[in-house]
Amino acid sequence: MNLLQILSDTSKISNVTLDRNSLVSAFWKYAAISELLIISFFVILYFKTREKKLTSIEAQLKNSKNNKVNMDDLMLSINNSRNLYKLLSKNCHPDRFINSTSHSEVELLFQKITENKRNFQELVKLKEIAINQFNIKIE
């Protein structure tokens, strides 16, 4: 009788310990989940503040990393723009068109030539404009 009673008591105790173990494991599970949530919240917060910290200048510079620069045009500018500018500035000078009706337009053209004096591609376009619109002979 006593033995049976003891056995029944031990089974009760084991049930109680099982319940306690499951409670403890559940607690740690929820603790881990909440920890993960807190960490992810701080990670998101960190990246958002980092984005805000990027000033407009930095953003501009970051975008300019992807700029495509044509190196062949650059080489043409380095080697040919000076001569072409001299030629155009001599032939399209507004003083040569003082009594002409297109004096003001040639003046604008000359301003553009001066602005783009180191850009070969633009100078070629302006040369074409000078030849086609104003009938200037470029020699």
Partner: protein, 131 residues
Amino acid sequence: MWHKIIEIVDWFGEMTERYKLIRDFNKAGKNAFISGIAPTLLEAKITNGDSNYRHQFSKFLGGGFRIKALSGRPLKKEEMIEIGKIILDNKELVRKLVALGWDTMEVHDNSGFNGCKWPLKDYANIGGYLN
């Protein structure tokens, strides 16, 4: 940790972009020299740069963008200044150079120590100041 990983990836990306730019410039310079457009062969290389011209994006020990006249005839001072000004007039290129960590633009002759240099941050025109 993620931030560090992103920084490392960015760093490698920038390095490849830097070397790509140098390679493109040298290729274009070589083609221009071979085809007879250019009287001198121009070569770009990375140097230390000037510490006085540093800004917040400057690369450590790699802030100088040097253009060197390799062969043909030696460059005059006016020609060196002209080459430098043509590059500095190209806004897109200057911004790209600044963004990729260069701070000094140098033009050098093949022989001697004479050359010209410019601070790139003064020519970036990005509507603000770089430290």
